[in-house]
């Protein structure tokens, strides 16, 4: 094995930020972190939000922020002692020795500059490529990160490119001045799985060509394929660090084990994610239909005047007690279909019928349909749960107000009974009465989603339409919310349409699955059947793209 140069070597890194208020203590974002990355090696820094992984990465290139107090006992960049580097020295290192690739390519690329200029800028700053050769070099660089038609792309600006292309352009820009180490902060988080797979493959190629990689992610499965070593961070500290296969196969720290076991997948069906206790799954698939979507289509006008078919003659049947997973990539029409099912958007053609238990089926939403006035009496039967709960709460309302509104609107209880019912609902979703007087703004992401679920349950619905309900949550919180939803289904027999881009989540919760692409359902069936024996080529591609853990997850006890 060749002797590998340590590109970055840092020991006992601590970063703290001054206190926000007069009484609060300084925030210790990172404590005693030691790590090193060599050429041709990938170190993955994994942790949930607030674990300090991004601050650590930024401290490595002197970008922790002006207010940050950064200390360490040893700090070498490419063999040079960097512990006393000032802004000027860091500026020389950035781009040439250490490149940085950020998460959100739309924000990170200048909206007014062409991709070509964006990519050529590091060459200009560090004068690594003579002026006349830069545009040529930018084209070559874009080609090397797998962008087709690079000659055209260099003349475009960021919003003319798709998310995957933007992320590639950002990687190209990070590579432009030939750094030997690339720091990638959640480089695939906002991307669809198929695009994510391609970006990960590109990063893998770079590593194989000798670039050192510091990969930051919240998702162990994403880094599993790429990382040589993994460092798991929690609350600003590295709780476990070692060879990737050791960490994934035989995690020592309980937090690593919890992270691994909290990840939903087909293998976790029928059990809770926290604690892995069995959870009831309705065995029969013979329940009565509660919601029937029949040949529904919806088009929107594009800005350029053309028509865009968001939903293209989609039909599906949701049965009593069933969870129907709707999976697809961004722009596939999942959310439009959810809005049509909820009766918030009227379809151009087709019908949605709703069948209350024991009653006749009724026209719920169609072009000739009942209209909002006709729907209002049945609104309590079908309730939404959205990805961003905070925006679904009136900013002036407390938790108590939010749930009380739902009870007032759909029930006949008096004020005292509503209060008792509110507490009961909070208890049902695992919150205590202390939360009543708080505004949702002052709750954590998981607690907010619980309040949203409590509000949906307040109307005692037969159907929940869950549109990416766990996509904005950390994996451990996601596990709790998924457990809660499955537990509710087991107890109340509520049916759900569960929309997600995450196939792991879908295969964990769903009884039946529809795969959507370009507004149409390309494949549908029982969940096991779809995930084990996919028929449509798009389903196959989707499943192949999902990053997965290479070893069975160790379960405690």
């Amino acid at each position: 094995m060749p002797v590998r140069q340590r590109l970055v070597d840092i020991e006992n890194l601590s970063v703290s930020f001054p206190a926000a208020g007069r009484r609060s203590a300084p925030v210790r974002a990172v404590q005693d972190v030691s790590l090193h990355v060599s050429s041709g090696e990938c170190l993955a820094l994994v942790g949930e939000s607030g674990s300090g992984k991004s601050v650590t990465a930024r401290a490595v290139i002197g970008l922790a922020g002006r207010r940050a107090d950064v200390r360490m006992s040893r700090f070498h960049i490419d063999g040079v002692d960097a512990s006393s580097f000032g802004e000027k020295q860091f500026r020389q290192v950035r781009g040439t020795t250490v490149g940085l690739v950020l998460q959100d390519a739309l924000v990170s690329l200048d909206p007014l500059r062409t991709i070509g200029r964006e990519v050529a800028e590091p060459m200009a700053i560090h004068n690594t490529v003579p002026r006349h050769a830069r545009s040529r070099a930018a084209v070559d660089l874009l080609r090397s990160v797998g962008i087709d038609d690079p000659e055209v792309r260099v003349t475009q600006i960021s919003h003319e490119l798709s998310g995957g292309l933007r992320q590639r352009a950002l990687i190209a820009s990070g590579l432009a001045a030939g750094p030997s180490l690339l720091i990638a902060d959640e480089p695939t988080t906002a991307l669809d799985v198929t695009v994510q797979a391609r970006i990960l493959a590109l990063l893998g190629d770079l590593r194989d060509d000798g670039t050192g990689l510091l990969l930051i992610s919240h998702d162990l499965a994403v880094v599993a394929a790429l990382a040589d070593r993994i460092a798991v961070m929690k609350d600003g500290r590295i709780v476990e660090q070692g060879a990737a296969q050791d960490i994934l196969r035989d995690p020592q720290h309980e937090y690593t084990r919890a992270l691994l076991s909290a990840a939903p997948s087909g293998a976790t069906r029928g059990t809770t994610l926290v604690g892995r206790t069995p959870i009831a799954v309705p065995s029969a698939h013979s329940g009565d239909p509660v919601l029937v979507v029949d040949a529904v289509s919806k088009s929107f006008d594009r800005r350029d005047g053309s028509r865009h078919r968001a939903v293209d003659s989609v039909s599906l049947t949701l049965r009593q007690g069933e969870i129907h997973g709707l999976v697809g990539e961004s722009g596939s029409g999942k959310s439009t279909l959810a809005s049509i099912a909820l009766g918030l958007v009227e379809p151009d053609t087709g019908t949605v019928r709703l069948t209350p238990p024991g009653g006749p089926s009724l026209n719920w939403n169609s072009p000739s349909g009942p209209g909002e006035r006709g729907r209002r009496a049945h609104r309590s039967r079908i309730q939404p749960i959205w990805q961003d709960p905070l925006s679904s709460f009136d900013p002036r309302f407390t938790v108590a107000n939010v749930i009380d509104r739902a009870l007032v609107e759909t029930g006949t209880l008096d004020a005292d009974a509503r209060k008792a019912r509110t507490i009961e609902l909070l208890h049902q979703v695992g919150l205590d009465p202390d939360h009543l007087a708080r505004t949702p703004r002052r709750l954590s992401g998981g607690q907010r989603q619980r309040v949203a679920i409590a509000r949906a349950l307040a109307t005692e619905p037969d159907i929940l339409i869950c549109d990416e309900p766990v996509s904005a949550l950390d994996v451990s919180i996601q596990a709790q919310v998924l457990d809660l939803l499955l537990d509710l289904r087991a107890r109340t027999g509520v049916s759900m349409i569960f929309i997600s881009h995450d196939l792991g989540v879908i295969s964990h919760v769903s009884d039946t699955v529809s795969v959507m692409k370009d507004g149409a359902i390309v494949e549908r069936g029982r969940a096991e059947q779809i995930f084990e024996d996919p028929q449509h080529s798009y389903t196959v591609e989707l499943l192949d793209s999902v990053p997965s853990l290479p070893y069975p997850v160790p379960v405690d006890g």
């Binding site: 006992n12 703290s16 930020f17 001054p18 007069r22 002197g62 922790a64 002006r66 207010r67 940050a68 107090d69 950064v70 200390r71 360490m72 006992s73 700090f75 512990s83 006393s84 580097f85 909820l342 918030l344 909002e372 729907r375 209002r376 009496a377 049945h378 609104r379 309590s380 079908i382 309730q383 939404p384 959205w386 961003d388 925006s391 679904s392 709460f393 009136d394 900013p395 002036r396 309302f397 509104r405 739902a406 609107e409 759909t410 509000r455 109307t459």
Partner: protein
């Protein structure tokens, strides 16, 4: 251990002295409007032929005017007209502007289009010109001044309310209310109105300042409050003839207008800043 980057002390947020000064002045102006005799015991309309054009001094803090009336007493008593009409006009403008703005944002297509064009046309005229137009129709007088000044401000408020109501109407909590089956008018009352009007209050506070100027301007032109009533605009107009002889007759009411408007504007801006920080 080595310090790589040293922390910079964060500046503790203090209340700015200008804000305190503005608040104090607004309180004084409010007291002058409500209980003028607390501040000035002299009768504002008592003429004293023996001492016209007395310079500011111990007997007459701000001096006397051409008829020997105490300028200080007149400035204090004049606060009532300026503030009452200024605040009243703003309140009226907010009410009408909110109604029009909400209708222009959420009404049927015809209503929306008509209101929007109407607002655009009205905004093409300066506020004061609109106000003069209304006075021309209604005739002069304190109550008509209030109505005219209010109508002059309506287009601006309606525009702000409409711009505010549009995103609120599309917000997640409005959709959630629809999904609960909340009737449309109740959604407007419970969610859209409160969340639209809250940011408007800061704009309205600044508007009070402009309204006071409009009131003074109308009176100055002889279209608002009629002499001999003490009103700042009236006093400015009357003192103008004697500006070279006795500067204090118009300077002090002028200062009162300026200080009131600046103070109210400073407070309004502070409110706006606080709103945008939340």
């Amino acid at each position: 251990m080595t310090d790589v980057l040293t922390a910079r002390r964060s500046v503790p947020r203090t209340t700015r002295p200008g804000l305190v000064l503005a608040a104090v002045f607004v309180v004084i102006a409010a007291v002058a409007a409500a209980f003028p005799t607390l501040l000035a015991s002299a009768d504002p309309n008592l003429t004293d032929p023996a001492s016209p054009f007395a310079e500011p001094g111990v007997d007459h803090l701000f001096g006397t005017d051409n008829l020997g009336r105490d300028v200080f007493a007149r400035v204090v008593h004049g606060a009532r007209f300026s503030l009452l009409i200024g605040v009243g006009a703003t309140v009226l403008a907010v009410v009408i502007g909110t109604a029009l703005g909400i209708a222009a944002a959420l009404g049927p297509r015809v209503v929306r289009a008509t209101l929007l064009r109407g607002i655009d046309i009205a905004m093409a005229f300066p506020d004061l010109l609109l106000t003069l137009l209304v006075i021309a129709v209604l005739g002069p007088g304190p109550l008509n001044t209030l109505i005219a000044v209010a109508l002059g401000m309506v287009p601006r408020f309606a525009r702000v309310v409409r711009a505010q109501a549009l995103p609120v109407a599309g917000a997640g909590y409005v959709t959630s209310a629809v999904a609960l089956g909340t009737p449309r008018l109740r959604i407007v009352r419970l969610h859209i109105l409160p969340n639209t009007v809250r940011p408007l209050l800061a704009v309205a506070t600044v508007g009070v300042g402009t309204a006071i100027i409009s009131v003074a301007a109308l009176s100055f032109l002889g279209l608002g409050v009629k002499p001999p009533d003490a009103e700042w605009g009236v006093m400015l107009a009357q003192g103008r003839e004697f500006l070279r002889l006795a500067w204090w007759i118009s300077i002090f009411p002028g200062l009162a207008v300026a200080a009131t408007v600046v103070s109210i504007t400073v407070l309004g801006r502070a409110l706006q800043r606080r709103n945008s920080e939340v």
